[in-house]
Amino acid sequence: MASSDEELVTLSQGGDLDSFNQLVLRWERPIYALAYRVIGREEDARDVAQETFLRAFRALKGFKGQAKFSSWLYRITLNLCRDWIRREKRTPVSQAPEGIDIIELAGEATPSESMEELVGRRQLGRAVSKAMAMLPEDQRTVIILKEYHGLTFQEIAELLDCPLSTVKTRLYQGLSVVRKQLHQAGVSGDALKH
């Protein structure tokens, strides 16, 4: 049976490097995905994810478990992303490949999905990426944490140090902007209905 985050954290705090590396293995992909969606660049997202774990390792003794380990990691990641955005003085980019790799696409296809549907899904994903890149950082962050990481409103509020109502407002505003952007890009509400 796999150990919980809390158990692994306790072992890591006692100097067990393997336990910490188990935590890294468990969380590296969500942390990378968070960084990628916030800053939009693969290589920079990788650097941010790596730095997140190094900082977490360094500060592990000071982690008292008030929040979940994952929330703590998210906070470190978001701080690093914020630093990156300030340092680069630019908004996140919507990084999309130029061409479409048919072989790669075929690997992603669900058994009932045709190639046309798959290409359409890819294009929709790209449109979403562009729409998200246009959002202000605070709205984008809330949507990412809610949509892709499944945090509750309360967890997001604690993570971002803001009132619950602010989280909901940002979420509503952000979703509304994305909806308009997708509409302007020609993505209709029933684009996925076949």
Binding site: S12, Q13, G14, G15, L17, F20, N21, V24, L25, E28, R29, Y32, A33, Y36, R37, E42, A45, R46, A49, Q50, F53, L54, R55, F57, R58, L60, K61, R121, L124, G125, A127, V128, S129, M132, I143, K146, E147, T152, F153, S165, K168, T169, L171, Y172, Q173, L175, S176, V178, R179, L182, V187, G189, D190, A191, L192
Partner: protein, 261 residues
């Protein structure tokens, strides 16, 4: 009123309303087409958002190194070392190696002289001695180094003499044995250092002499080839000049014979 509450709408879309709130909002939706439409559109937007997938890179991060995580130096050790650090390290290593090898390249009228060996003020090998006596300017440098070596030698002798002096009677036998031992060690260390240096310098000098010899041989061959080429070119040119001269003489002769007629 419910239509204006964005918090309620968002709470409903993400299913985070309290049971009472949800029941109340459901009742509102039954009579409010605008709110129903808005909820539908937000849910469609959420469906679209799900299509945005990040790339799937090979990550496999690992923190390496031992010790407790609180140790501040550990994460630093775990960092990736930038390329310039490797370059700087390489430069330092090269500098140290050059300093140890003490490579010296000199150009003199009689050829190239290359010397190496750490602590060159030590006992010189045969090859080095030969170079000193056969060159001009290097002799001065070597003379001063010989002076350094002599000074060092004197200093070592003084230390040995001091160590070899008779001790007070109270410390007699054991101390005497110890002093002899130290002096012997010192002599042996000097001998080992001198031998190692001699071997190193001789080997490198031989290698460099071979290189210089090969270089000189190749240079002479090249010069001979160039001279041969120039000679051929000059031969061709002289032939052409002679032909032109003959042609000109013939013309002059023809012209003067016409004038005579």
């Amino acid at each position: 009123m419910m239509c204006d509450s964005k918090e309620l709408i968002v709470g409903y879309v993400y299913d985070e309303l309290a049971i009472g709130e949800r029941r109340e909002f459901d009742a509102h939706l039954a009579i409010c087409a605008d709110c129903r439409l808005e909820i539908e559109e937000l849910q469609a937007t959420r469906t679209h958002l799900a299509l945005w997938a990040p790339p799937v890179p090979e990550l496999s991060f690992r923190v390496i190194g031992g010790g407790a995580p609180a140790a501040p130096a550990l994460p630093q050790q775990s960092r990736f070392v930038p390329a310039f650090a490797f370059a700087a390290a390489a430069v330092i290593v090269l500098a140290v190696a050059a300093a140890i090898a003490n490579v010296e390249v000199r150009y003199a009228p009689d050829g190239v002289t290359v010397r190496t060996g750490w602590a060159r003020s030590g006992a010189p090998p045969d090859a080095q001695v030969a170079e000193r006596t056969s060159t001009g300017a290097p002799q001065m440098v070597e003379a001063s180094r010989s002076g350094d070596f002599a000074a060092l030698d004197r200093r070592l002798s003084q230390i040995e003499a001091a160590l070899g002096e008779a001790p007070p009677a109270a410390t007699l036998q054991a101390a005497s044995t110890s002093r002899m031992s130290d002096a012997e060690i010192l002599r042996r260390v000097r001998q080992i250092v001198g031998d190692a240096e001699a071997r190193q310098e001789t080997a490198v000098a031989r290698r460099m002499l071979d290189v210089v010899r090969d270089f000189e041989r190749q240079r002479r061959t090249d010069v001979a080839l160039i001279q041969q080429g120039i000679g051929q070119y000059q031969g061709l040119t002289n032939t052409e000049i002679a032909q032109n001269r003959d042609m000109l003489n013939q013309l002059v002769r023809a012209a003067s014979s016409r004038q005579e007629k």
